[in-house]
Symmetry: D2
Amino acid sequence: MKAAILGATGYTGLVLTRILTDHPEVSQILPVSSSRAGTPLLEADPGISEDTLAKSTEAGGKLMSMDELLEAAPDVVFSGLPHLKSAEICAPFFGRCPIIDLSADFRIKSHALFEKAYGVAPPRPDLLDQAVYGLSEWNRNLIRKADLIANPGCYPTGTLLPLLPLTAAGIIEPEVAVTALSGISGAGRSAKVNNLFVERSENMNAYSPGKTHRHATEIQTQIDERSPGYDILFVPHLIPVKQGMAITSVVKLKTRTSDEQIEAIFRKSYDGEPFVRIQRSGIPETRQVRNTNRCDIGWHRDGNRLILFSVIDNLLKGASGQAVQNMNIRFGYPETAGLRRTGEF
Amino acid sequence: MKAAILGATGYTGLVLTRILTDHPEVSQILPVSSSRAGTPLLEADPGISEDTLAKSTEAGGKLMSMDELLEAAPDVVFSGLPHLKSAEICAPFFGRCPIIDLSADFRIKSHALFEKAYGVAPPRPDLLDQAVYGLSEWNRNLIRKADLIANPGCYPTGTLLPLLPLTAAGIIEPEVAVTALSGISGAGRSAKVNNLFVERSENMNAYSPGKTHRHATEIQTQIDERSPGYDILFVPHLIPVKQGMAITSVVKLKTRTSDEQIEAIFRKSYDGEPFVRIQRSGIPETRQVRNTNRCDIGWHRDGNRLILFSVIDNLLKGASGQAVQNMNIRFGYPETAGLRRTGEF
Amino acid sequence: MKAAILGATGYTGLVLTRILTDHPEVSQILPVSSSRAGTPLLEADPGISEDTLAKSTEAGGKLMSMDELLEAAPDVVFSGLPHLKSAEICAPFFGRCPIIDLSADFRIKSHALFEKAYGVAPPRPDLLDQAVYGLSEWNRNLIRKADLIANPGCYPTGTLLPLLPLTAAGIIEPEVAVTALSGISGAGRSAKVNNLFVERSENMNAYSPGKTHRHATEIQTQIDERSPGYDILFVPHLIPVKQGMAITSVVKLKTRTSDEQIEAIFRKSYDGEPFVRIQRSGIPETRQVRNTNRCDIGWHRDGNRLILFSVIDNLLKGASGQAVQNMNIRFGYPETAGLRRTGEF
Amino acid sequence: MKAAILGATGYTGLVLTRILTDHPEVSQILPVSSSRAGTPLLEADPGISEDTLAKSTEAGGKLMSMDELLEAAPDVVFSGLPHLKSAEICAPFFGRCPIIDLSADFRIKSHALFEKAYGVAPPRPDLLDQAVYGLSEWNRNLIRKADLIANPGCYPTGTLLPLLPLTAAGIIEPEVAVTALSGISGAGRSAKVNNLFVERSENMNAYSPGKTHRHATEIQTQIDERSPGYDILFVPHLIPVKQGMAITSVVKLKTRTSDEQIEAIFRKSYDGEPFVRIQRSGIPETRQVRNTNRCDIGWHRDGNRLILFSVIDNLLKGASGQAVQNMNIRFGYPETAGLRRTGEF
């Protein structure tokens, strides 16, 4: 099987390269970079090993151009391209092979909401209806048949996984407050002064609060589709770590809900899930899921308020890891193929 | 004027040494360390300069013992000692000179609440009634006459400063959710595996949520004393920075409150305050108050919910800086004497 | 195959657990902790996954005691115990199964030199002669037959790999200056104020220079054994990263050596080695080997002086990774089994 | 006195703003930014305080344009502009007021060497001869009368201060090996992928070794001017800290030099210097000079080799701090005016 990576030198592309190197079903990696086509892989990314080179013989151990990729006829295309560019560049592959788009271009079906969040109309409205939102644990059946998978954002993944069981069960009040802490890699690899080491080290801050963050719309949309009536207040923060996301959500229990009921609701949603862990002892830390595709969820009750804790690696379960999980689902591979579950200490 | 520092080699002690070195009214610094008495200052703390040594001639440029301090007859005593030890060790100075205690020993007047938070009875109940809670901007008149100042905790300082104007004005609903992010120095300088560099780098997590953190009791107590009826949910997080604290509080506006009213409420509380800045453009970042005694406050409205952002340096306005501000108030010095207001970039 | 890990909650133990989880030949992991025996693995180390639990059924998913381990009859014992304790605790397994000791207890054969470095006599002189120094690429034949492998220190591994080809070839002058930069995990997991996050963040410094660092003796000993006559000056530095080691060595070329000769010398030593990469473009960075068992080596010539650059992950190739590489050699497994070669970006 | 800052939003400009805010002789700060002229200071730099605004009334609390600066007639001009741009932009002020240029444009008098290091001819050869190299401790008499001060680079400052006493005394062999570790702010505030937080966190590496770094030429030039015959090998490294520089130099003692002689040589050079500390106990760490204008120097002898340790804050003594020290010298102010000597812990 041949897997193409558009935007292979961005952070999600670099992670995809690593995962696909370890993936037992992928025999060829086709890494594409329009700006650096022809550059030897090992020069662009000295972290890779001979194991990656052994799977990129068709690319000649180099970054490919789009033209070369079209020739190469991939079996699946991952796009790690920026929002508003990805849809257009991926489009030629539609109908040829499944596309897993890590950008936001196909995540929001409502034209109005997309425009509110991104400032312009959705780039390829013609394909929008066929896109399946790739939150693996909740859309598995649709993903199985999808040819266009809109891979979720990192904040939405980390927020929705603990929330959806509760909104679905209808046990919480409409107002939800989500505080999210993200590592800097969430901002991507473009050269911005605000993301320089010097600006971020020994620094932290909230940004784009409430409705002003694009992911707030994505989260609200997903909740609305499944369980209308909730009002999500979302406040993201930038934290000086490379990879990692911790989300703390405060909800109010609607009725006299027992701890056992909460436990049962989570168990029902996630028992047997290979990448979601319900942690009952201690509070999850981001290091324990770093470099894994896991989402670990904990909670603490304070009277009738419930605090939810969820941690993911924003580049793995929040991006490239879930993308490969979706590929596994789509192609009928074991869902854990190529994906790590063991985190750091 | 002679200023004593008990616990001079802890983080708050090290910061006090720096501030008092720059303080125009302090002529002698008397640094005390029971475990390291006799050690040259420059060896215990190579960061200090000749400027500090010039002010520690009476201590012989060395760390002093408690016995030596009693001889030296300080004009003010700062205690950077641990909770449950500080009160007892400070007590001999009561009646001799003003005491500014940075520990929690005198912060909570209710024996029951103290015991709930700290697991034991307040260590010196006989002195408790005379202690004034040293939140400078709100207790200035009491501090002026106090001989025992209970210097506030870092989380309470950063939480109360943005909240008190709103609870006092009575414009918010009872339920408040506070998410606090703290640098690691908040945990003190004791050797614990959990605070090693390796455990904290590339890691973040919530801890002691809801009523389980001791500072939750301190915050609730202060709100209750001034404006009963609010229920504060407090969720602290550990973040890999050395110094810095960012607090994001979500409140619900009770009535049709205009932005102008909110602005006016904050202006009324803090206009002219040298160490509180109401920031209307952008969201405060912790670096901008690092190494200063400032608290910068911003807010964002999302419908009828209001998000409050506050940043302090946990060791300055959250500890040693406010302690010196309180000394300035108590002794009638200019309130900014010795205290920096210019932060990092 | 059953692999025991003594000191399973130390940093090298935590890394061993991860590697052995992925190792195709290891069916049972026996994790031992004398201080925390009986604690569930998942509580002691929330980073592990179901994959580890599936391999620790014999331990009941818990940390074992030494007595339980003796019962369990491991096929190999890894010791991540501290220096001066490890030898004694490992000794009962000698003759029963191969022992791979990550401590320094068996690394230096000379009693005098050991005592100079560690302040006391070697703890088990009776076993010392049978120990093989486990620098995989240079002692492979001895390791194959060894029952006691003294796994090298991190600094020695990172220093010797680029130096040994040159000292063996006899093309450099006797005086060598080695500057080594180490992440904080090199100091182990014991609770020391000097390794707290607050002490290390935004800080760096040299320490134990010249002959005063214990690893200087280990390096000198290894050079002396193979190519006597060199004088290694070693200066280590502490750097605020979790994992990683960068070593810069300055040597003087003895005769008119061409670049091609240098290249050929390195190629001869390391061509075909799965874990040593000679990098000819750019200078190696530590991130590219993070979480891998690789050592990447580069060099730059400046007249008749040659600067050598080597990077390893101090916990992998510098400790637990090389330990498993040695197990692979000893048991005749493929040398790369269970070991990652793909680094971070 | 009016002090202008060209490039006020770069890292050296931001630090200059802070120092001059505290400087007792500076009454007006004139901050210039060609790209952001007209922006309120507080918006461009929320770290500053009312204290800075009180000194920027003439600039209207805003960033100025070059035209406005020419009108304002400053008494001194600091330039934090980039190399190859600074000289040209500063030139109009020559003859009007002293210029302190923090760029490299006037540091190297030899046209050939400048061209070798910077790839082009020196930008203003006509002014070059009048420039004085601003290494304060060694050129004080020249600086007193200079109208054009070429402020030294950070690496040269940190390298030359420990080396010059030894080369001047003639007690070391010609070959010197310098390993330098720099925080990321040394790379300036321009948006480069390689300096993003994500690229630098958990990473370190050597770069531009030997003659390939521009500062190597600057160092060699200064040594040659004073004591010809030494060959400096310079190897810089990038370290994940915001501010800080640690330099480890290895020299060989030429003759039987006693420790007392070494001590005496350093004492002779630096006794009484307010910003150079000879540290005899322990090894200097960068935190102890963070945010100060100090250079702390230690050494360790290993046989006939001597290891020199020096630490500075690359933005202070390595840039803006020394620039103000030079202003103090030039204008006859106390040399420590406005400059901090107390570091972090």
